[in-house]
Amino acid sequence: MSIKIKDVNYTYAENTAYEIHALKDINLEIPDGQFIGLIGHTGSGKSTLVQHLNGLIRATGGRIYFNGRDIYGEHFSMKELRSRVGLVFQYPEHQLFEIDVLSDVCFGPKNLGLSREEAERKAKAALRMVGMGEENDHRSPFELSGGQKRRVAIAGVLAMEPDVLILDEPTAGLDPKGRDEILDQIQRLQKERGITVVLVSHSMEDVARYVDRIIVMNQGQVRFDGTPQEVFRCYKELEEIGLAAPQMTYLMHGLKEKGADVDADVTTIEEAADAIEHWLKS
């Protein structure tokens, strides 16, 4: 599975007074099984970009290839694309509507033409995967807590067994524990199923712990693309575009500027403590 984005441009309201060039010359390749963090401000184009990946928005210029096939080509089925590229929007719990949890999660699979039995099987598997036990299957989704509702909504997309899972700000509005729970679950999912995961966020810190690759967007363009360490090294430029590297990056660089001989590339607390201890005792 791979996605190739070539010279993609997107303009809103072309040729009117309200024209906005939301995406400019995007070129990206997303290989199979990667865990990617897509970071940027509101208005950077990150949400617009991911909506191109499952065909909800059509690029005004450029091409997108899914497994080598042009998604704007004649015989390409958008419906099929959406079953392979799952998109979970921000505050996904707002899309719940069915009488009970199980039926809501079955909505996706049923739309793909599966029988009720098949759909239920996949729905149940998806629910277990997000940590929702059997006891909730026949409860009304509206009786659940905020965090539970969110997990049901994510299960609703997982039940379609996509190859790529895109989550737009999955931790929005959650408290620290809720955030950690969801991100840990997503990480587990990614490892177990080997699917490609794209986490869209405006928080570098949240995302850094989990992803292999960070893509930073600003004003409709890709500004940085690399491993977390590579991207954090450019923390000064990140600041210029109004994004912040994790607090630790600033700390380590601050120490280094005062003459300390420490490795500023560390990203975890343990690594930082090791580096500092080493420096103090040398």
């Binding site: 309200y18 909800l56 419906k79 959406r82 979970v88 929007f89 899309q95 909505f107 739309n111 379609m160």
Partner: protein, 276 residues
């Protein structure tokens, strides 16, 4: 993005009509519409036409905005004209096909009905084009305030209208989001017959309603937190006061109405005298 749509057809400009108190415009529109039914025959309609042209010019709104409203009633207009043209009895028959015939009276009735409808739409459009939705609700609230004496909840109705205006763009945007989320799960809002399409709306309407209720709940709490307790004791930031410009406008509109009634009456008188 969707939030940029302006509600109503308000067209910002600096015309004397834009600056008038909204109550004057509301009353004037009603009076004008009534005048269209009082007027009889060409002289009356000539007066109405002159008045309308004057108002359109004063509004400084480009003509195509004014005719936009007419597009909506094209069907009704055609039906009215056709019915009156072919089915009204008259003295002089000009054409016949089976039970369909065009008579002189038919032509006259069809013509005047069409004119009335068109002028009605243009007249109301001028009002909404030159008055912001908020000003309209403020004007309506002030005009209807005497009804408070008969227990009509004028203030509450006006508050509901302003809140609706405020939230329409937000709910539209939310509808879009919900639609996209369901489409991402394979929902199809386009294919199918009427029944299928109606069923497909459930995943859209249920979340939308729930969201609307949640917002209403939050808003009520926020309003109470800011000491909202109904209309009693409230002052207004932008109170409506008549100025001389408004009084002159009232004079003009009543003058026009008297003129039209006079012309219609005179016509009837002359007609009656001609018969004797």
């Amino acid at each position: 993005m969707i939030r940029d749509i302006t509600i109503g057809q308000y067209y910002p400009a600096k015309s004397i009509l834009h600056q008038l108190d909204p109550r004057v415009k509301l009353v004037a529109t009603v009076v004008y519409i009534i005048s269209l039914f009082v007027a009889k025959g060409l002289p009356g309609y000539a007066v109405a036409t002159v008045f309308l042209v004057m108002v359109v010019k004063l509004s400084k709104v480009p003509f195509r905005y004014i005719t936009k409203g007419l597009k909506a009633i094209i069907m009704i207009l055609m039906i009215t004209v056709i019915f009156n043209l072919f089915l009204v009895d008259g003295e002089v028959e000009l054409w016949r096909f089976g039970f369909l015939r065009i008579t002189d009276k038919g032509i006259r009735t069809a013509f005047f009905m069409a004119v009335r409808l068109i002028y009605l739409i243009i007249g109301s459009s001028i009002m909404t084009l030159t008055t912001t939705p908020n000003d309209l609700t403020d004007g309506l609230e002030k005009l209807l305030s005497p009804l408070k004496k008969v227990r009509v909840p004028v203030h509450e109705i006006s508050m509901m209208m302003s809140i609706a205006l405020r939230f329409i763009p937000i709910l539209l945007e939310e509808t879009d989001k919900i639609m996209k989320a369901q489409i991402a799960r394979g929902a199809d809002f386009e294919t199918g017959n009427l029944i299928q399409k109606a069923k497909a709306m459930v995943p859209l309407l249920v979340p939308l309603f729930i969201s609307a209720f949640r917002r209403a709940n939050d808003l009520a709490m926020a309003m109470e937190a800011r000491c909202y307790h109904g209309g009693d004791g409230r002052t207004k930031m932008k109170p409506l006061h008549y100025v001389s410009r408004d009084r002159m406008a009232y004079a003009v509109i009543w003058g026009y109405f008297l003129l039209i009634t006079g012309v219609a009456y005179a016509q009837r008188l002359l007609y009656a005298m001609a018969l004797l």
